[in-house]
Symmetry: C2
Subunit: 456 residues, 2 copies
């Protein structure tokens, strides 16, 4: 498929195993990527430090379900695996907000047929591994890396084995070992930033054999500086997640005593007490985890490249972490085709051309936390959403709301981010107390068109 | 001096050496810090991976001379070591700019008695080590760290030794091992950012037994996107440094062939060719180094704390890297006194209260590169400097130029940065083509006072 490189030949003479393509990490991105690359005729070996998830109990520490949307779906379709998962998905058509009195308000995500999908992380991961394995990808579980030699592209494992690879792709997540090795190389930019909030998951059991709340929504309890959300699971439970400050007046730190937790839930989430009767035990027993944004550049060094969370882990508030990682895989393959799978060129090209999009979705995800926890209950915000829906309907070719561009389109994240900023500028011109059903649309569109022209 | 902690006792029972205060790195900051802490009656051990610089040849890789100014001098005075170095300093009263034709322009740094000082990094380092050793600090050279256990505060070395410390202070520089260990702890924020420019040093030999150029200035050849600077040395040589892009049209990468280097120097630094006859050989032989900014928070974990470059390495364009590190040491001691050397409190207090200043000087240093390489030859910029000098003279209690606040005062960097922004706002109101000698000062001061009031 490609010419044998000098590096490849030099290492062929000793006894070290020689891989064509090695992938670090058999998570969602690694297993999908392996499958896609194998399908192009390359030999692929995937190394994973954990045990095969198909043969073991799931361990905690990662979110249980995720929101799969257009970008992720396209990549799964490209791999020919979407049809196997689609019946497991639970559509979420919009946000269902719970106010302090337990009253409900609904806000659709997009048009009638546009929704996001709750999916089990572990279920999807198992499916992707089996799919890749059926295509001939070699999986090596219980293989924990001890070292990576970037100059020779050699991975060493705790079991004493070492392997040389022509190409090494690191889909080993937010705490990537491959990235750590790159960080120590000269002129490698890196940032890890933790927000002041952590999260804790609580399980809401089914009630009378079915969902305790309306399943086809993403439920939100927006509370200003913090929020609770809930996503449905196929077993009719919900996984609820509290995003909450680590320290401060109202924080995980301030809720150490049981009576304080009880007082907190009674005041802020009165309707949840009935829905999760053992909320107190769960709150005390379940782990509190942190939320990090990772930015790096470049993503490649010699024959190695980072992909997915390893290069650009983001906070979960836009539901785009997995989708961005899957889109990485699709673009990597499309650009690979264009470059005739000249790997040297492809690694650099991907690293350069995808970076702006990774930065954009990182910012968008951070901003969306403020929107979700604070603004979704805000009248002006809701009215702007209404005007946006009218604009989208009247000018479908011109006005696509930011959420839709990010969630229901293939537009590069960086472009969506830029257009979103211009849209916000337009919406900021709406006077205080405007009537969302009567605001004239033409002047708004004219303003937007002018801004778009200026931007070019 | 302080109560023995539980951790301290627990480890006392085995054979591992027990230090009171350990300092990682015997560079400028580590050796000064050791000396200051020892003087308060604590036992101090300093570990350095390199050989004792007093007994070995200096290796390359670090800048040869540095600019010592007020903040650094105050800390040296506090340690009682300033008198031993002051005769070695070469005052630099201002910038001497060299234009494309070799014409010279001078711009003073401050008032008559205000100047910065060229000092030998290695000479100062040796002096600080000897000074600390005379006070009873234990230095351990050739001690390279292999691991640090932050939870137990145990350092392990390549020679197989391990040592437990009550307090561990990491002054181990921009590539700090202590910081690397902290980075892997949850919720530790970290950023390393390399600018697109690197640097290369060239030595300008003395001429006829004396300096080849006027010694009491910092010489600059500002060239827009890049620049050459020169600082005097006590042996009548100059150390010149070219700050230049790594890649691009005019870059280290583009100057690979000798004739291109020659063409470049002939065009951009015609007067340097005569002053450094072997510039071509030096350009080809001397290393090209990168320039990094490091930001971290927090700076402490358990009984360990970062100080100096380890917590906040900056680019060299404000001449403040060493000065900021020395000021760290002074503030650490002053705050230590206030907190009765309650180390648990002190490490957290320092980490929290010094961070904003570190961030400010990091930004100021990045911004000053643009000023030095681009604006110092700009007419409007020079005219603004003239107006600022008039303002400082007429309103000495109100208007202190940013450069003076940073270089000749003790004002927290973060405060200087904020005031500097307001001053810039005032100066931006000056109309195009203003006459610096005639501009009315009162309206400018009024505007500035208003902005200062708004900021409070």
């Amino acid at each position: 498929m490609f010419g044998t490189s000098v590096t490849f030949l030099r290492n062929s003479s000793n006894n070290m195993p020689q891989n064509e393509i090695s992938v670090l990490g058999a998570g969602l991105v690694g297993s999908l990527l392996g499958s896609l690359i194998k399908e192009k005729g390359f030999s692929v070996d995937v190394y994973e430090m954990r045990t095969d998830p198909r043969s073991s109990e799931v361990k905690g520490g990662r979110s249980i379900n995720l929101a799969l949307s257009h970008r992720g779906i396209r990549a799964l379709q490209l791999a020919g695996v979407y049809d196997q998962i689609k019946n497991e998905l639970i559509p979420m058509k919009g946000r269902r907000m719970h106010d302090l009195n337990g009253e409900l308000y609904t806000q659709p995500y997009g048009k009638e047929h546009e929704f996001i999908n709750s999916v089990s992380r572990n279920g999807l991961n198992q499916l992707l591994i089996s799919h890749a394995e059926n295509r001939g990808v070699n999986f090596h579980f219980d293989h924990k890396c001890t070292d990576i030699n970037l100059d020779e592209t050699i991975i060493s494992f705790t079991n004493g084995k070492s392997v040389h690879s022509k190409v090494l792709l690191g889909s080993d997540g937010a705490y990537s070992m491959l990235r750590q090795k790159m960080e120590h190389k000269d002129r490698f930019n890196f940032q890890q930033h933790y927000i002041e909030h952590g999260y804790k998951e609580l399980r809401m059991e089914p009630r009378n054999g079915t969902f305790a709340m309306e399943p086809n929504f993403l439920h939100i309890w927006p509370r200003g500086n913090f929020m609770l959300i809930a996503l449905p699971n196929p077993d009719c439970s919900f996984t609820c997640t509290l995003f909450f400050p680590f320290e401060g007046h109202l924080s995980f730190e301030s809720l150490r005593e049981p009576n304080k937790v009880e007082g907190f839930f009674k005041h802020y989430f009165p309707d949840v007490i009935d829905l999760i009767p053992d909320y107190l035990e769960q709150f005390q027993q379940n782990a509190t985890s942190s939320l990090v944004t990772i930015r790096t550049s470049p993503w490649c060094y010699n024959n190695s490249m980072l992909i997915g969370d390893a290069g650009h882990a983001i906070v979960p508030f836009y539901g785009q972490g997995m989708n961005a990682g899957f889109e990485d895989c699709r673009l990597f393959m499309e650009w690979g085709e264009k470059l005739g799978f000249d790997w040297d060129k492809l690694l650099v090209f991907f690293s350069q051309h995808r970076k702006a999009d990774a930065d954009a979705i990182a910012d968008l995800a951070l901003n969306n936390f403020i929107e979700m926890r604070d603004h979704v209950a805000d009248e002006r915000f809701l009215n702007i959403k209404k005007v946006e829906a009218r604009l989208q309907k009247a000018y479908p070719d011109i006005w696509l709301p930011l959420y839709s561009m990010v969630t229901f389109s293939d537009m590069p994240y960086s472009q969506a981010y830029k257009i979103g900023k211009l849209q916000k500028e337009v919406m900021n011109t709406l006077e205080e107390g405007f009537d969302p059903d009567r605001v004239e649309l033409q002047p708004l569109i004219d303003r937007f068109n002018n801004l778009m022209q200026d931007a070019h």
